[in-house]
Amino acid sequence: MFSPFLKLVLAVIFLIVIVTRTQARELRVCADPNNMPFSNMKQEGYENRIAAIVAKDLRAHLVYVWQRMGRGFVREYLGKSRCDLLIGIPSNYRPVLTTTPYYRSAYVFVSRRGQKFDLASGFDSPELQRLKIGVQVLEEEYTPPGEALARRGLQRAIFGFDTTGDGADSIIRAVATGQVDLAVVWGPLAGYFGKKYRGGLTLKLVEPEVDPPGLPFTFAISMGVRKGNIALRDELETILARRQSEIRRILDQYGIPQLPTASFASSSSTVD
């Protein structure tokens, strides 16, 4: 015979055990609520689609922590354990632990179809001197193409665009409407918003990949987890390898310009 108190204690313990065992694993993903083509609250972005694949594979319940991805975002959210995963982050972004890259993209020149600019020499093409060129502005900085133009004394050619939130497509629209002659835009944005114009725009990869001595136009993209969370990173590596073709299909669907990456099959043995 148990005392009523002991019965209660046992019942509570029993319940706790049941609840813990049946509670699905949670995958907490930090994402921007309004940042197409990457993510939005309606989960229409390609990072939303990829997050769903990962959660399904992990048999985890996908939970979004929505926050504008401005400066300090990684430190305040991923860093302070408000979430566990960032779907797309540059592979060499130091504050987080990253997976093997699952795609690689580059800045692209965007122009109206029919405009025949000679960009054979990239940023050294003489043609650039007489053009109005849109570049993305990121809080306090120009993106690398803006810096490349400034280095060549073409500051007068640069027109800055905010490309986050509601104004994400403004730089592409500016090319389409002739507000600028040319824009240099991060591939995923250009690919996705460019599709709306059904071939009205021409996209050309910025080459070479690096403006010497070290200004890159190409970035490999990985998933990112908190430093030290090697277990989750390793799980993600496996999933990325297994779901490679599914993810590739999504990227293609969203029009993301892609460059070759080392394949997962070969890289899975090079865990650091």
Binding site: K80, E139, L215, F219
Partner: protein, 623 residues
């Protein structure tokens, strides 16, 4: 004294510097390194035979209340209350406290009007009224403007508020999501609320308004680059916008007309706010107005500084980038510009010019001049004729390597060519560092000593290799900035400065940058707080520590003093270092993370060793 390791640098400010300092950049501040001291370092001069010179000018009448952010229109932060003296301050005791219930940085000055104390909190910017007639000062009411949470994203990690102003029975202040509100001081009822900025453009508001001749003057902060700075006047009764003066752009939008007569030729000319930029770059060039405003009723002029230009890569914006990193004198009724002076033309180092302007009448070369004293981020205390904009003196108050001085004939800052940042090039020993020799933390002036009391930083920086960064899905590269203590091995100072001689009279070094405001009193006691939470009273003549109290969190607020309904003198301060210092600590340890491979979470464990979060009002009185 040098402690072995310091996760340093300080708390909040607008969205600007600290974003720069921390942001996604990796910034390390350690006590182990000090800038190489070379012959080219400009050091402050020391005054060896200081004699107090009693101030000859007139200060505003003092009724023992505290109704404006900086006490008076001249921004002296001086109170004529003298019950608390250098002799008795050691018996100062806690009178009452009040918790804001918030954990972000608390930068505001409390107001005291009509036996009530008003406190504005960081986001969500609640306004509390405390009844000073009752024991323990219980809450009378709280007004909650409920700003949109999305504005926190715009302001990133810095959701501070620098306080309110009282006028005509109303408390006026700004919310982070760009609304100016007027609240009935007696009832807490909202009188009006006007949206003056747009978070979708990256704007936010953190500054304390000043009310001049029935107009509420407010300015914007924000990510600077991408934002276009402005100062706006609203009708105090209705909240209607009366005028808006942009920092950059065509003359008609900067409100430059026939009255505009800058002292130096480089500030004269048509549409300089357009011509000193690459085409259209002024539209997103920054120059926010997130600091302090002063007012001279006789000249009927307001004075305020403008933030630095964007982007950081200065090569991308050739030209002087007017009218950023400088000071405007304007007519408060119309907004018309009367003069402008640029402290840091074509700013290279994030030297905003939004610091306080203290309006004084000083004897310069035997002649009393109406001047303003402005300790700038670039490291000089400027004394400027406030009627004309002529620079009368500019002397270093902290170590400077980025410039050699200010040419008083031309008014030009003399940049040091070899310290000019070039993208991708490593440049070491840049002093002052990005938050400047002094950031937003406001100074005080005592007419009894004739001295300015300047809370400030003592830091230098290196700009190192480029590293990958990203914002909202787009990758880019930014310079890796490392900050460290300037020569001497400490991060901050509280300095008594003779504005006539242009010299340091005494200085109290502090382990951390001194990120609180200063308060001077007729009892010859000066108050300030430190980042590790000490609230200090020092002797106005010597700087000797007379009394200190350890508050629950780091202090980045502005001390005030007032006469209570019981006739006693009280001193009040908001403590609460909040998210920023936490961020800084984290930032400081990032470097260690790289070398020692410690996790981010582990790094945060060190935070309570120095300070912890939590906003609390502390009010002190003699027993």
């Amino acid at each position: 004294m040098i402690r072995p390791h310091k996760p340093a640098l300080a708390a909040s400010r607008s969205c600007r510097t600290l974003i720069f300092i921390l942001g996604l950049m990796q910034v390390a501040v350690t006590g182990l390194r000090a800038a190489p001291q070379t012959d080219s370092t400009l050091q402050p001069a020391i005054e060896k035979n200081y004699q107090p010179h009693t101030y000859q000018g007139q200060l505003e009448a003092d009724d023992g209340q505290w109704i404006r952010p900086a006490k008076d229109y001249a921004s002296t932060r001086y109170s004529s209350l003298d019950q608390i003296t250098a002799g008795n301050v050691k018996t100062l005791k806690l009178a009452f406290t009040f918790s804001s219930g918030m954990t972000h940085g608390h930068e505001a000055a409390p107001l005291v009007v009509n036996k009530t104390m008003y406190i504005v909190t960081p986001f969500p910017n609640n306004l509390y009224a405390l009844d000073l007639t009752k024991p323990g000062a219980p809450m009378k009411w709280v007004y909650q403007p409920s700003p949109t949470p999305a504005s926190q994203g715009v302001a990133c990690c810095d959701v501070v508020n620098r306080g309110a102003s009282f006028d005509d029975g109303k408390i006026y202040y700004n919310t982070l999501d760009n609304q100016t509100v007027a609240v009935d001081a007696a009832s807490g009822r909202e009188v009006w609320k006007t949206r003056v900025g747009d978070i979708n453009k990256g704007e936010s508001m953190t500054m304390a308004p000043l009310v001049v001749r029935g107009k509420v003057l407010v300015g914007n902060s924000g990510g600077e680059f991408g934002v276009r700075g402005w100062l706006t006047a609203l009708d105090g009764k209705t909240g209607k916008i009366v005028w808006r003066a942009y920092t950059a752009g065509p003359d008609k939008e900067v409100l430059i007309g026939s009255r505009f007569k800058p002292f130096y030729p480089q500030d004269r000319g048509q549409d300089l706010g357009v011509k000193t930029w690459p085409p259209d770059a002024w539209k997103i060039g920054g120059g926010g107005v997130w600091g302090w405003i002063s007012y001279d009723p006789q000249l009927n002029l307001i004075y305020y500084g403008t933030a630095n230009p964007g982007p950081w890569d200065a090569d991308a914006r050739p030209g002087d980038n007017k009218f950023t990193s400088g000071i405007f004198a304007r007519n408060p009724d119309t907004g018309e510009a009367v003069w402008f002076y640029q402290f840091s033309p074509h700013d290279l180092y994030d030297y905003d010019a939004v610091n306080e302007n203290i309006l004084l009448d000083l004897a310069i070369n035997g002649q009393v001049r109406k001047v303003l004293a402005h300790p700038d981020r670039n490291g000089y205390v400027y004394v400027i004729d406030r009627a004309t904009g002529e620079v009368l003196s500019a002397n270093a108050f902290a170590p400077i390597t980025t410039s050699k001085g200010v040419d008083l004939k031309t008014g030009q800052l003399q940049y040091v060519e070899e310290k000019r940042p070039i993208t991708g090039k490593v440049i070491r020993g840049l002093c002052p560092s990005a938050p400047g020799a002094k950031d937003w933390q406001p100074s005080a002036f005592s007419p009894r000593t004739g001295l300015l009391y300047i809370p400030h930083n003592h830091l230098c920086m290196d700009k190192e290799d480029l590293q990958t960064n990203y914002i909202a899905g787009t990758p880019y590269v930014g310079a890796n900035v490392r900050m460290y203590d300037a020569p001497g091995g400490y991060g901050g100072e509280f300095t008594a400065w003779d504005p006539v001689e242009g010299k340091v009279v005494w200085t109290n070094p502090d382990h951390f940058p001194v990120w609180s405001g200063a308060l001077a009193t007729a009892g010859d006691v000066v108050f300030y707080g430190t980042l590790d939470g000490w609230f200090k009273a020092v002797d106005a003549h010597s700087g000797t520590l007379l009394w200190q109290f350890k508050t629950g969190s780091g202090i980045i607020g502005q001390p005030i003093t007032y006469k209570g309904p019981d006739g006693k003198q009280y001193v009040a301060i908001l403590s609460g270092v909040g998210g920023w210092a936490g961020a800084i600590v984290a930032g400081g340890l990032d470097a260690r993370d790289e070398s020692a491979a410690l996790g981010f979470g582990a790094a945060m464990k060190d935070l309570p060793q120095y300070t912890n979060k939590g906003g609390m009002l502390y009010v002190f009185a003699l027993p």
